[in-house]
Amino acid sequence: MKDFIIPDRDFGTPVAKSKTMVTLTIDGFDVTVPEGTSIMRAAAEIGIAVPKLCATDTVDAFGSCRLCLVEIEGRNGTPASCTTPVAAGIKVQTQNAKLEKLRKGVMELYISDHPLDCLTCSANGDCELQDMAGAVGLRDVRYEAVDTHFKAKDNSGKANPQWNPKDDSNPYFTYDPAKCIVCSRCVRACEEVQGTFALTISGRGFDSRVSAGMKDDNFLGSECVSCGACVAACPTATLQEKSVIELGTPVRSVITTCAYCGVGCSFKAELRGDELVRMTPYKNGKANRGHSCVKGRFAYGYASHKDRILSPMIRDSINDAWKEVSWAEAMEFAANRMKGIIDTHGRHSVGVITSSRCTNEEAYLVQKLTRAVFMNNNTDTCARVCHSPTGYGLGQTLGTSAGTQDFDSVEHTDVAIVIGANPVAGHPVFASRLKKRLRQGAKLIVIDPRRTEMVESPHIKAAHHLALTPGTNVAIVTALAHVIVTEGLFNEDFIRNRCDWDEFQDYAEFVSQPKNSPEAVQLLTGVQADEVRAAARLYARGGNGAIYYGLGVTEHSQGSTTVIGIANLAMMTGNIGRPGVGVNPLRGQNNVQGSCDMGSFPHELPGYRHVKGEAVRDIFEKIWGVQIDDEPGLRIPNMLDAAVEGTFKGLYCQGEDILQSDPDTKHVAAGLAAMDCVIVHDLFLNETANYAHVFLPGSTFLEKDGTFTNAERRINRVRKVMAPRQGYGDWEVTQMLANAMGADWTYTHPSQIMDEIALTTPSFAGVSYEKLETLGSVQWPCNEKAPEGTPLMHVDGFVRGKGKFINTEYIATDERAGPRFPLLLTTGRILSQYNVGAQTRRTANVIWHAEDLLEIHPSDAEMRGIKDGDWVKLASRSGETTLHAQITDRVLPGVVYTTFHHPDTQANVITTDYSDWATNCPEYKVTAVQVGSSNGPTEWQQEYNAQATLSRRILPAAE
């Protein structure tokens, strides 16, 4: 897999999965393929490309274009090779005089209703219609174009009613009906690949048109989610990226990994020179299998946005304006300040935050900076505020925090439980894969306070939606276990073989208590008991059961307990250790998994090994030549507490905006303001930078080499597509800082950092850039025992030996609705925006979501006199903010919902400092609030914006 590649081959129809093999003869050559393969694909396997237009291997065969005709000895007629399956012993001919003539005739008809403006067409050189005209030897079109779709005016000069103007409503691609050959590839891609069903063919015969949504909709106004599957499928210029229209066709491509969510899609970055023309999903990417979403496919414009800071900056105080300086000056300033703090307040007074957006190699270096240069363990990462309870909960029960499956596993799932996650918005490409499986007949249980897009969408309907009161996850999960145990639905063989039977007895006694029954918890959870019972029976006895969960599970006072409860469910039903089952945490950011693997947590070295272990410390001490602190360091919330208290004074924060993303904004701001040196290393002057003294400009994922590890533990290569605009990859910047502090690091390429990771970390022992070039990607553990990685965990036994059942006592959060704050606020994401929005807000994605809205139930709105679109004030005991209301019955009465993508809203002014009992993961998902009418921004919002504006001043560069 080299950087310079030819376009992916299109085999015409999808791969057949049968294990029975069939041998046939095509054009005199024998070929053996799985039963069910099309003749077209079988021919492609031996390098024979049968001409085609409506077939492409991402969607099922359709048989409409009649170009792929073949002859089969002993059979009548000329069947379409895309819809005709192989059969043993048949003899196929793909080319002869008769077929040539038929194909020419077909092409002639197509071209008679197609403009011949190839030279100025945006698909020139990248058009299958053009290719096929060449392939069939079309030299003449005998038909005069009288009735056409492509002429704006007919031959007499009158407006042509058949002609439709170009639809350029979508910010990223255009639909030009004049170029359309009605092959239906786009419609089928929207259905089969994406699962949105936004497109259809309206009309019949000559009136047939691709149509988005209803008759009067354009692409933007329709249900289209702008995933780009239709654009990728289109053989002509009908659906075309605007960037290609503007810049021309790309000439080289580099395979890399998306820097948005934890799915970790593989993409081809397609360029002219060092100008990025487009990102297209890579068919051989094992996480995405050729699919993409609006973020990865289109929302890369932030990389060249004018807001990007390209020069290092410093200032003495956060009240000063920024001063642009050289890298050397910035490093000297930062190092002197940090050294000064250490001299005065001791080595424990400084720390780092690693980024879940940067590469593994970069996270590794940042934690190494604190452990080997600052000489403490004060390192944490944004996983603290998202999946740290997964680490704890799965570690305790199964022995490792790792998700148990790969994404392909979903193709074998019979019953999926989606709890506290909305993959349609947060992990869209996985959602498409799940929905595909559901359309094949798998069943779905959704546990979520909100009626998410997962609950009901075209051709998808959850068998059960347990719409629970926020904060009652543990009660519901334990009630599911209660039903499984008391109704004898557990898998005794599995438990006896893989877990401790006596321990299970104790656990069974606990969950069987009447207080854990669905009937008893109904009042707390608000979910009908019979619905819980039915869901439990379905999961336990419905075949392969898989649980997918997200931050709606972890971001609670009892986040870790719910994770334990989920592991209990999987173990008691034997749903672990084979395809189609498992416990699958859906990780938020692109490299949350990797940053955790790389030792970003303050209590553990890379590979999840506690710092108290002398043998582990010894490994690193030998290589790093330092003594490693044997005490755990501070977690992010503890750092901020210590800062307010005056014992924590300096922070290096890479690619993470804690002021916007962490809860209880006022407390975070107070902590940052109390520090003497805050170094922010980021693409933009983010919110945290308002409190920084040093700003080090960061590089994008397009500008450096490295690896990301996705939610299925897959280590994917990130490849340098263009030179860093500010001069250095982020790993080089960290190295400069370390060396300015007296270290002597000499890495010249991230592959050397990976070699050091492999040398020190057993689960990465077999990983090298060389192997990643050969295999494309590997899933850790990758070592001597599993040289090609580990798609499924716990196959023969649990990592910890025996699986451990742990009691999950429901303890209500102290965050409760009451007279002052009678509603419960929960938060989430939207498809078009990502995390704090730093990247997506700087792209055309804002067209779908320009601001955070407050979803409120009609009855709650009416009681407060709130109308749809009104400004409302949202207040909790922590603070208050204002935003616009959206009235919807997606949320239950008593529950309101918002997203956290925009700093103007500052949803985290509202969230409190309650957190998970085991990991301090903040309780984002439950805040007691009141909602009332408002005239505009609160005092806090105005003050905040004033401070931010003041803080972002940059002095003009000296002449």
């Binding site: 001791g346 303050p602 005490e631 006592e809 303890i811 009992w917």
Partner: protein, 76 residues
């Protein structure tokens, strides 16, 4: 909840205790001890001991019982 270090740490210790109380007593006690030893930075344990040494007011009995097993932070 106040940002006073003691108030916050008492709250956190009690949260851990509540979870551990659902385990058999000995296991719960051991798990609480190791949890605090493994995850609490010395500054946090120092504050916890200030409360414990002052009589442990506000702490759940399991935390008080674990006092002599929680590692005292070395003097800085």
């Amino acid at each position: 909840m106040s940002h006073d270090p003691h108030v916050k740490l008492i709250y956190m210790a009690n949260q851990i205790a509540k979870f551990m109380e659902s385990k058999p007593h000995a296991e719960g006690l051991a798990s609480l001890t190791s949890h605090i030893n493994d995850f609490w930075e010395p500054r946090m344990r120092k504050h916890l001991f200030e409360v414990l040494d002052g009589g442990g007011q506000g702490l759940r009995p399991l935390v008080v019982e674990a006092a002599d097993k929680i590692r005292r932070p070395k003097a800085a």
